[in-house]
């Protein structure tokens, strides 16, 4: 029957040379990984993505040492000053240094990206594996739940949840995580379904391994590559989602900086202080681009069937 093509970019089919026996599989796996790594290193766009992501992570971690000013200290002497040698990216409506706020804002964005995708993976992948492996009513229940979550657009669900949970960065991360979860449920389920039918899984069952062992030992490793690809691409979506929620006033609360909330105030000063909107936007754009490039590169390296 006509299956809906998933929006996920990773293919839910097993990799080209799936191991025929467990022994051969165990031997072949590391070598295949090395090949993937070499392929990734040769892909210039992917390496550029990795460099951008690494840069953003370093900025977020070392924010207190890198920042030229206190990101929340206001100063009425320096309200809305254009970029200068003192304030490279200018100052905002309360005289705060835009660069300092951007450096600290990296923390909110990256935390939101990583934590929310972490929630989605930790909850979604086991559910998907259970659904795919056990089938029947387990699958029916989990799949309908995932369908239901998928039927509410990502941002609308996140807005609704943020509304009922209350506005804060933590709640935004939970909301984004929950709304990203069904992607991982579907991906893990599809992968578990195909791997389940492989001979080596039949073999493992025949020698009496428990379901838990089979899932952890044989199914999970096969599910991982597409999950990693999907995770890095979803971090990109999650960063935009956090910026969007903060832009709407439903994420990071003032005075703490986030790129989205900086743009929220900046939009009222487009005419008088365009630098307030230009630089935080570039930061979001580059970080998201980095994760997208990284995800594309990982997909090409790990998933031979889905090459662009």
């Amino acid at each position: 029957m006509a299956a809906l093509p998933t929006t996920s970019t990773a293919s839910p089919t097993p990799e080209g040379g799936s191991p025929v026996t467990t022994v051969a599989g165990a031997e072949r796996l590391p070598r295949r990984r090395h090949r993937g790594l070499r392929k990734f290193a040769r892909n210039r766009a992917a390496v550029a993505g990795a460099v951008i992501v690494a840069f953003a992570v370093i900025v977020a971690i070392f924010a207190p040492w890198l920042s030229p000013y206190d990101p929340i200290a206001t100063s009425f002497m320096t309200v809305r000053q254009a970029p200068s040698a003192l304030h490279w990216f200018g100052t905002d409506e309360l005289g705060r240094d835009v660069l300092a706020r951007m450096i600290f804002g990296a923390r909110a964005s990256l935390a939101a990206g990583v934590v929310s995708v972490g929630i989605a993976v930790i909850v979604g992948v086991p559910l998907g594996l259970l659904a795919g492996y056990f089938g029947r009513w387990v699958d029916a229940i989990i799949s309908r739940l995932a369908d239901a979550l998928l039927s509410i657009p990502f941002l609308i669900l996140a807005i609704a949840m943020a509304a009922f949970l209350g506005a804060s960065l933590t709640n935004a991360m939970i909301a984004i995580g929950v709304s990203a979860m069904p992607r991982f449920v579907r991906l893990a389920r599809a992968q578990a379904l195909t791997v389940k039918a492989e001979e080596y899984v039949e073999g493992a069952r025949a020698i009496g391994l428990t379901d838990t062992r089979i899932i952890v030992r044989y199914i999970l490793p096969n599910v991982l590559p597409p999950i990693i690809v999907q995770a890095s691409l979803t971090v990109a979506t999650a960063i935009i989602a956090e910026a969007s929620l903060s832009f709407l006033g439903l994420g990071q609360l003032p005075p703490l900086p986030s790129w989205g909330s900086m743009l929220n105030t900046a939009k009222d000063f487009v005419e008088q202080a365009p630098w307030m909107s230009i630089f935080p936007g570039i930061a979001i754009f580059l970080t998201v681009l980095g994760f997208n490039l990284l995800g594309d590169g990982l997909r090409d390296a790990l998933d031979p069937r889905e090459q662009s």
Partner: protein, 314 residues
């Protein structure tokens, strides 16, 4: 064929029920007792009891859900706490505005995404392909509200070509309506066009690799004819389904676009409702969106089969 439609519709029903339960559950996540908040200063136990009875909050949870879903099925989504108007009326007022924006955005997305995807696939590995890919990746990575702010700064503030905000119904002044809509629609369509380009490209690449395309080329047909007539028709099949899935993103994107350009649509309705703690409106908007999305997916499934002769016969 009919069996397929019925089957798909039957699968959609439990999904809809679960969605409605989740949306009902949202209000139970609210911290504090809503009745105490409603009673305000007057903490008279009789008033509180009366309110609890009025909103059926004294009944067990399944009963509360049954009463709520019964109302919903009768087209009663509750009343707005702020304006006192029925939620359905509010949605009926705002939805057309958003649909207009979304359709306009969709046209722009299709206009950019599909031709670029075809060009890119037909010229795989060449400069056009590279350029189109860079464009698509940038389009996917740019937050649409930021693109909106930048455009307002350039087009409205600097060049003073288009109004920066507002909404004019097309029935009132068609030209003005177009002028206020074109920038938001572009902002909305850009990200979608980028994704559409990538889907079109990969669908086209898949088809261009097949034997019948090689045969068509071998018998001397022009490259353009083969690409546009033979390949595109088959490549379009998966794209139709992708479009239905992307429509959800279009609605979500509209929330932000409407906020940036102050357009009084569906998105502005939900955001304002969130800040006014007008929960009935929030629930109503989410429910209508989800139901619309499920129906649209159902249609896409049916269309997918209709377009695909092999499945039609099955």
């Amino acid at each position: 064929m009919l069996r397929l439609v019925v089957h798909r519709a039957l699968v959609a029903i439990p999904t809809l029920i679960i969605v409605s339960m989740m949306i009902f559950g949202l209000q139970k996540m609210l911290p504090g007792d809503p009745v105490l908040a409603m009673a305000g200063e007057d903490q008279n136990p009789q008033v509180i009891a009366a309110l609890r009875e009025k909103y059926h909050l004294d009944k067990p949870l399944p009963t509360q859900y049954a009463l709520w879903i019964g109302d919903v099925l009768h087209g009663n989504l509750g009343t707005s706490l702020r304006t006192g108007e029925p939620v359905t009326t509010l949605i009926a007022q705002k939805l057309p505005v958003t649909l207009q924006l979304a359709m306009f955005g969709l046209v722009i997305a299709i206009g950019i995404g599909i031709p670029l995807g075809i060009l890119s696939a037909a010229n795989r590995g060449k400069a056009i392909d590279y350029g189109a890919n860079v464009l698509a990746l940038s389009g996917m990575s740019i937050p649409n509200f930021w693109l909106g702010i930048l455009l307002i700064f350039l087009v409205s503030v600097r060049w003073q070509l288009l109004p920066s905000s507002g909404y004019v119904p097309p029935g009132e002044d068609l030209w003005m309506s177009f002028k206020t809509m074109v920038m938001p629609a572009f902002v909305l369509g850009a990200a979608l066009g980028a994704q559409l380009m990538r889907h079109t490209r990969s669908a086209m690449l898949g088809v261009l690799r097949t034997d019948y395309i090689r045969t068509a080329r071998a018998k001397g047909l022009l490259r353009g004819t083969v690409v546009l007539k033979h390949a595109l028709r088959n490549a379009l099949i998966p794209i139709v389904t992708v479009l239905a899935l992307l429509f959800g993103e279009l609605l979500a994107g509209a929330v932000l676009t409407e906020q940036v350009f102050t357009i009084p649509g569906f998105g502005k309705l939900i955001v304002d409702a969130v800040f006014n703690r007008d929960y009935a409106v929030v629930q109503g908007v989410v429910l209508v969106t989800a139901a619309g999305f499920i129906v649209l997916n159902l249609l896409a499934d049916v269309l997918y089969v209709l377009l695909n002769p092999r499945l039609r016969r099955a």
